[in-house]
Symmetry: C2
Subunit: 230 residues, 2 copies
Amino acid sequence: MTVWDRPEPPTRPAPLDRERIVAAAIALADEGGLEAVSLRKVAARLDAGPMRLYGYISTKEELFDLMVDEVHAEILPEEQPGDWREALRTLAHGTRQAALRHEWLADLLGGRPTLGPNGLAVTEATLAALDGLADLDTVMRAVETVSAYFTGAIRREIANLRAERATGLSKHDWQRASGPHVMRMLATGRFPALAKVVHDGTEVDAEASFATGLDWVLDAVAAKLARPPA
Amino acid sequence: MTVWDRPEPPTRPAPLDRERIVAAAIALADEGGLEAVSLRKVAARLDAGPMRLYGYISTKEELFDLMVDEVHAEILPEEQPGDWREALRTLAHGTRQAALRHEWLADLLGGRPTLGPNGLAVTEATLAALDGLADLDTVMRAVETVSAYFTGAIRREIANLRAERATGLSKHDWQRASGPHVMRMLATGRFPALAKVVHDGTEVDAEASFATGLDWVLDAVAAKLARPPA
DNA sequence: ACTGTTGCGATACACCGTATCGGCAGAATA
DNA sequence: TATTCTGCCGATACGGTGTATCGCAACAGT
C-alpha cells in the first residue's frame, strides 16, 4: 500500500435534486423516446443507484408528471399577449413547438391533469387573458375547447410524423410503403372517398394545417364570446 | 406485410385466432386498464403459453392496434346519417361512448394512425358524409379539426375521471383532497384567475361540456364549408 | 415402420419498477 | 475520547415484463 494506490475515499454522493433528475430524464426521452426512460438509466446518468431516486420521486409516473411540468415552463409566454386570441394562439403554437422539440410530450399530452406549478401558471395566464370577456362557464368552455383541439392535433401530427419516419417516406408516398394492406383495401373499391383523398389530395404543410384548424376553432370561440349564452 | 394482412397461421391446431386474442386483451384492459394487458396474461386467458401468441401477432404494439381497430367496429355507425353535421356529431359522440366503455381507449386515441379495416371504414364513412360539400382540402381540414377536438376532449375527460376516482371525490371537492399542493398554490395568490374558477365555477356535466364544445367546432366548420377559401 | 422435416412452445435472457433491510456514517452519550 | 445509539442510504432481491432461441415432439413422405 503506497500513496499511489491508496483507494479513493468513499465518493461523497453528488448532491441530487429533482431538477437534475428531471433534466436527465428529459434528455433520455429526447434521445430515445419515452420508453427509453427507465429509473435505472436516469440514475445511471447521475452516477447513482436506482433506489437513490426514490428520495426525490415516489414513482415513475410522478417523474413523467415532473417532465411535463418542466416543458410547461418552456411554453409559458414571457410577456402578456395583446388580446385573448393572440394568447390562445401563442399557447397552441407554443405547445406544438414544445412537442416538436420533445416528441415524447405527445404521448403524455392530455393523459393526466396538469397540476404542476408551471402547468398551473400556463393555465392561469390563459384564463387571465380571457378574464371578463364572458361569464366563467363560457370562458372555461372556450379554453377547454381550444386546448382539446391543439392537444388532439398535436398528437395526431406527431403520430403521423413517426409513421412517416418509420417508412422513411413522405405522406404522399406513404400509402405505397407503409401499407400494401392499405393499398389493397383501397383497391377493393370499398373506400371510394378515402381513395379520392389519397389519390387527389395535395400534400399540405403540417404547421399550416394546424394553424388553419386552430383559426377555425378560434373563430368559433370568438362568436361565442361575443354572444354569451342566454 | 403489415399488422393487418398477416396471414392466418396453418389452421392445424387452431383453438386460437386473432379475434379471440384481441377479445381476451380487451377484456383484460376493460377490467384492469391498459397496463393490465400483458402477453402472458392474455395467453393465460386462452390456456396457452405466451409464445403461442406470436403466431398471430408479432408485437405487443400490434395487439394494441388490433384492440383499437376492434373498438372502431363499435363506433362505425350502422346507417347513413342525414347530413354531414349529424355524421360528425355521431362519430364524436360514438367515440366518446366507446371511450367510456373502454377507458383504455383514451390512452391510445390519436397515438398512432388508424389503418385497420374498421378504422378505415370509419374514416371512409366520415369522408363520404362530407363528399362534395367543398374542395378536398377543406373537407380534410374539417374532418381533422373535428377529430382533433374530440380526441383531445375525450382524453382530458377520461384523465379527469381517473383523477376524481383516485381521490374518490367530485370535481368540485377535488381541490381539497387531490391537492393540498394545489390548494397551497392557490392560496399564494399567484393564480387569481384560476382561484376564481375553482371558487366560483359551477360543476358542469361532462357530456354537456363535450357536446357544447363540439357544437362550437361544428359551427366553425359549417362556416368554412359554406364559404370555401378562395 | 422408419426417417426427415417442420413448427411449436418451454426455457432463457435482459430489463423493468420498486420493497426490503443490512450496514455504515454521524450524533449522542458516558 | 470511546462507545453506543440511530437514522437513512442504497445494494440486493423479487416478481414481473416482452421476446429470442432452439430442443423436441409430431406430422409427412417413403
